[in-house]
């Protein structure tokens, strides 16, 4: 995918969402900001606080954090943004905050470029992670397995089987003129009163 697509969404909150999809080849980016172990841990804590899933292991969060770092180094401007964001977390002792405090803290941070970069990348990368799909019970790719026709597309059994055909009055209902329809409604309402 070409680099130019990175910029097709710019604005209050979405830049990063789409950056994560088509932007850069991370292998080619020179990683500077966020590569230290403690920086990574800080970012991962932020990622988890934004999108907490108690039953997710570290794997998806680690991969997502790596992506936040890779994409945050896609240009010198981004690398500066990322490093400044990390420095701020450090000086505010983010690593010491518990879940409730860190949620409050991020709420106050507001939609800075750094916040949007981390949040936007995470919302795309985390939920596009194949292990996450499995954890959520999503089976994904299906055409190569013959679809779901024999794999539970209609296995819901806690509700009665509904009608699939149209109601016999549908055609009449749709062709009724709205004035007439309003009159009928009024008649019904009067009847009920």
């Amino acid at each position: 995918m070409s680099v130019s697509r990175r910029t097709f969404l710019t604005g209050a909150l979405a830049t990063t969402v789409y950056m994560s999809l088509w932007s850069i080849d991370p292998a080619k980016a020179k990683i500077n900001a966020g590569s230290k172990k403690e920086d990574k841990e800080l970012l991962m804590k932020m990622v988890r606080t934004l999108y907490p899933h108690d039953r997710f292991p570290d794997g998806p969060y680690i991969r997502t954090t790596d992506d936040v770092i890779n994409k945050g180094n896609s240009s010198p401007e981004n690398a500066i943004m990322l490093q400044e964001g990390i420095d701020q977390l450090k000086s505010d002792n983010f690593s010491k905050l518990d879940m409730e405090e860190s949620t409050k803290y991020l709420n106050k941070m507001g939609r800075t470029a750094f916040f949007e970069h981390v949040r936007g990348t995470t919302t795309v990368t985390l939920y596009n992670d194949k292990e996450v799909w499995e954890l959520l019970g999503y089976e994904g790719y299906s055409s190569d397995q013959g679809g779901y026709v024999n794999r539970g597309f209609n296995d819901l059994d806690w509700l009665p089987e509904p009608r699939i055909e149209e109601h016999p009055d549908l055609a009449a209902f749709l062709s009724e003129s709205p004035t007439k329809f309003a009159e009928i409604k009024k008649m019904i309402a009067n009847e009920l009163n």
Binding site: A14, T123, Y141, S142, S143, Y148, G152, N154, L156
Partner: protein, 521 residues
Amino acid sequence: MKKIDQKESAVVIIGSGAGGGTMAYELTKAGIPCVCLEAGPYLKPEDYTNDEWGAFGQMAWLDKRTTSGNWRVAKDFPGLPTWLVKAVGGTTTHWAGATPRFMEYEFKTKSTYGNIKGASLLDWPIGLEEMADYYTKAENAIGSTHRGGRAALPANNNYKVFANGAKNVGYKFYATGPYGTNAEPYDGRPASIQDGFNFQGDKNGSKWSTAKREIPRALETGLLDLRANSHVIKITHDKKGNVDGVLYMDNDKNLQKQAAKVVVVAGNSIESPRLLLLSESDMYPDGLANSSGQVGRNYMRHMTGSMYARFDKPVNMYRGETMAGFCADEVKHNPNRGFAGGYYMETLSIGPAFMGAFLEPGGWGREFTNMMDGYQNLAGMWLVGEDMPQSNNRITLSNTAKDQYGLPAPNVHFDEHPNDIAMREYAYEKAEALYNSVGAIQTWRTPPYPSTHNLGTNRMSAKAKDGVVDKWGRSHDIKNLFIADGSVMTTGAAANPTLTITALAIRTGEYLASELKKNNI
């Protein structure tokens, strides 16, 4: 494949989606050779992928666009106002398949609803009577279920929740269609294997698209010169003011020219008006076919919103057809509800990848992840209703932003009309009631996605001063310039638009073929 010389004045169709693909088939079937120029590649079912972001990156129209107005899309997705496809088959490759017809009065909303402040309502120059036969032809082309004796799709899990809820709250008019994916083999296409991923191009080929039906059949006539990866950037005209050719960029960004005796514009409601505006000249300083000043105006995108509901038991909504569930009880105009027009409820499923980005753009935190965490237990529906046309909701050429060729990018301006907002609020409440009646433990009002329905920017009108094309899709100003896509819609109705776009294109195609045979053009 047919090769038409670039110097030969041909019938040139721009775009190969619902409108353009249908035109190509109608004309070649009638023995008329055509050139079809399509900006995107010719992808086949084996190229499609069961991967939401993968398919989006593969086919979505991602050229530079800008947005303005008070709609939330301008904030959430400022560079991506629409979800459209750049590929042979156009957006029918990603469409789901809901195919309701307009109701009779929806062709006459100005007369029916009266004057609504701020709305530029106008009656269509045609009505259901003229359209009925074409609707039948389009349903037969698409293979709409529940129509023409075709079978209904079976109930999938998402539909079971939807239909039971509908019944509980007293609705009657629910069913699994009409829907443009086969329940049984039809017209050379197999029955659905409930593989989902309609929005990603249907690998199984059970779903109708012009890439699956009209384009291959037009090629089989031996009369279609299909040029993929050919992006038209200007329509040219002769001294008399008739169009006489198009300029386009080929795959290698080389400028090419094709001479034309007729041009049919079918690039969708953003690119069609943009192309007419880009084609300005000394003779037409405001763009082609724009003596009315209506080119680009009255942009409509339907009132939309989604409702997702979480239950304490599994649903697995993603298994099976993406949208095969339909409820019409709220569709009739009934001003007692506090708004004009009406809306449909339709089942909808998206995977975790899209859910993460679209459930609540910008959203995060526990409440959000509770929904995501319960993904298996989610059911979902889409709300789609008539929105009010407004003169200032419009496509213009940006003064600053440029596309990949250095041409002005389109700006999409949209302000929501109070009627749109009132309808959405009402629809959310009704949808919540429906899901609560079957035991929802959490519901979510998801705001509109980038627009999948794009309508009205070259509206059809009886009088030349009110619109851009006449009742045949022919421009009022230039007799050999036609438009055949969603942009010709005078008003949008509540119905998903593609059946109507296809029916109109069949009608325009028949008319153009007969005019050409009579040597009237």
